[in-house]
Amino acid sequence: MMSFVNKMAATLAVSVMATSITIAADFKPVLLYDIGGKFDKSFNEAARNGAEVFNKETGIAYKDFEPSSETQYEQALKRFARKKADVIIAVGVGYSVAVRNVARKYPKIRFTVLDAIVDLPNVQSVTFKENEGSFLVGMIAAMKTKTNKLGFIGGMDIPLIRRFEKGYRQGASYIRNDLTFVRNYVGTTPTAWNDPIKAAEMARSQYSRGVDIIFSAAGPSGLGVIQAAKEKQAFAIGVDSNQNHIAPGRVLTSMLKRVDLAVLAALRSAKDGSWKSGHTVMGLKEGGVDFSIDAHNQALITDDMKVKLADARSKIISGALVVDDIAGSNAGH
């Protein structure tokens, strides 16, 4: 009898231990941000928002990492791969080479990379049609400008950011063809994402030259553009996250890139087992890009503008209107 009780106790203890182990080792997702950090109010913060939604839904905690330089991309990927993360989500085109290298070495680990295309059996690539979203905000800018001069400020000069510019110009020219464009790129290295002082100076210069609306695709540097718009009482257009609230009334709209949805989808699918490698493109049709209207900019976008925007949107979705692209936007650099 005694031995039976002992046995029972032992089995119970083992099973308790087993469950606690399964809980601890349940699901370990990892999110790696790009330079700029998770509170950049733009690209990285959108990724974080997606992971936070997942966390609220499931109660599963995720690990994240903010690299302070490019050299840390590969180190971070390797570190989490060695710890056997269930899915490693790396956001940013800068990760493309690092993900390719590390994914080859750890074929059993699942990687999701945003903005880059890595063709490996254990990598899921998600890219966006930023040019389609930029087309719509370009239309808004063209309908709103009084000086007929539109500005663009990009962060790092890479094909991906040129894609924003191309869509923006095409969208503006779709409305009218008498516009002048002025553009600046903050830099040619990843530090360009983190230099709001320089971006603000470029924006001041553009506004002084008669530009009245600037679209910035520059991560945290874009905050400098919004600040300059406040100083000069002009308009800025935000990017990636909804940035309308940063300077209510001065941010005309924001080009939304639904990084949050992509991160959330990757996390959900990795958890329920439906995660698949391969390449997904998220455009207007898939709800991957859009522009924002909220309490802060409602008064700036008239009903007439909305009608034209809805018309263009349906034409882009149906394929009747094709927005040009820049080659190599999602290739490594």
């Binding site: 509170f39 002084s208 100083e231």
Partner: protein, 323 residues
């Protein structure tokens, strides 16, 4: 007319870009003329940028921000002084240590206080040194020539930029026209002679480092609360080193140093303006090339046009009384 309007805008932009450069370069100048080498300008600027932005975010007042910014830079200056004057440590090592420590400590503290991943919250207009429009600037704006000069170049800067204009003659006056300036320069050239005259070398050097800290504090404060609106990781972006280069290029003299800073500022403003402009025959210059411009120019000038550069003789050498 187009060209003139562009030039006005370029000069306007130059003044803004050069403000932190001039302040830090003059800070470095005072320290080195007193015989203390400091390559920690970058770190001190960053520390005061953080202190100022954090204080402005909490109190909502740019004046407290300025005090905090200056306080942080003076404290680090005195730390550097303690290492290099009292302990006779290596000044390059101490300066570098301060740079590295601040680059890590500032975002960490920012994260600890504000939980925004190494940034401070964005500051609103009331808690910054915002733009001052001088009287009559609006009215004169349309007057040809003078209007553009006055309303674009002279009016419309933040308070610290205006103060910087005063810093330059004040520093020159201090160095060359006062007894303190004479002693300060002597301490940097021949500390033994100063000591023989019964004046404390250490005291003069500490005093120089306090002035140094105040100027660095202004530079950091203008970064995060004047030109920018909040602290962001590594926001000094190499300006401390650029200021150091301007000071060497200016041969440790106030006016040439000022000109060097203005030149760096101008080229930076110019590169922004040249982006995307199409030139006859050449076409559009690639961004990569225009961004190189300030650095290429620095190399050319330093290599070809500056001539012999002579540092203050006792600069970087700790003074030892007993040998």
């Amino acid at each position: 007319m187009e060209f003139f309007a562009d030039l006005v805008l370029l000069i306007d932009s130059t003044l803004r870009i050069a403000t932190p450069l001039v302040l830090t370069a003059f800070a470095g100048l005072i320290a080195e003329r007193a015989g203390v080498v400091d390559i920690g300008l970058e770190g001190k600027m960053l520390a005061s940028a953080f202190a100022a932005a954090a204080t402005a975010a909490v109190t909502g007042s740019p004046w407290y921000a300025l005090m905090a910014g200056v306080g942080a830079a003076v404290a680090l200056g005195l730390l550097h002084g303690y290492v290099s004057i009292n302990q006779r440590g290596n000044q390059i090592v101490s300066g570098m240590a301060i740079n590295i420590a601040v680059a890590g400590a500032a975002p960490t503290l920012a994260n600890f206080i504000f939980h925004k991943g190494g940034q401070t919250p964005l500051l609103d207009e009331e808690s910054r040194f915002s733009i001052i429009t001088l009287p009559g600037a609006e009215a004169l704006a349309d007057v040809p020539l003078i209007g553009g000069l006055y309303s674009e170049i002279i009016s419309g800067h933040n308070l610290i930029t205006y103060l910087t204009v005063l810093v330059v003659p004040a520093t020159a006056w201090l160095l060359y026209k006062t007894r303190f300036g004479l002693r300060l320069r002597a301490v940097g050239e021949n500390p033994e002679a100063v000591d023989t005259a019964g004046i404390s070398v250490a005291l003069i050097r500490y005093q120089a480092l306090i002035i140094f800290g105040v100027l660095c504090g202004f530079a950091g404060t203008v970064l995060s609360t004047g030109l920018g609106a909040g602290f962001i990781r590594d926001m000094s972006a190499g300006k401390g080193y650029l200021a150091l280069a301007a000071m060497i290029f200016g041969k440790w003299k106030p006016v040439p140093t000022l000109l060097a800073c203005l030149l760096f500022g101008f080229v930076d403003a110019l590169q922004g303006r040249l982006q995307g402009v199409s030139f006859p025959l050449i076409g559009e210059i690639p961004v990569q090339f225009t961004i190189m411009l300030p650095y290429v120019l620095t190399v050319i000038i330093l290599a070809g046009f500056v001539g012999k550069i002579q540092a203050p003789r006792a600069s970087g050498i700790p003074y030892e009384k007993d040998h």
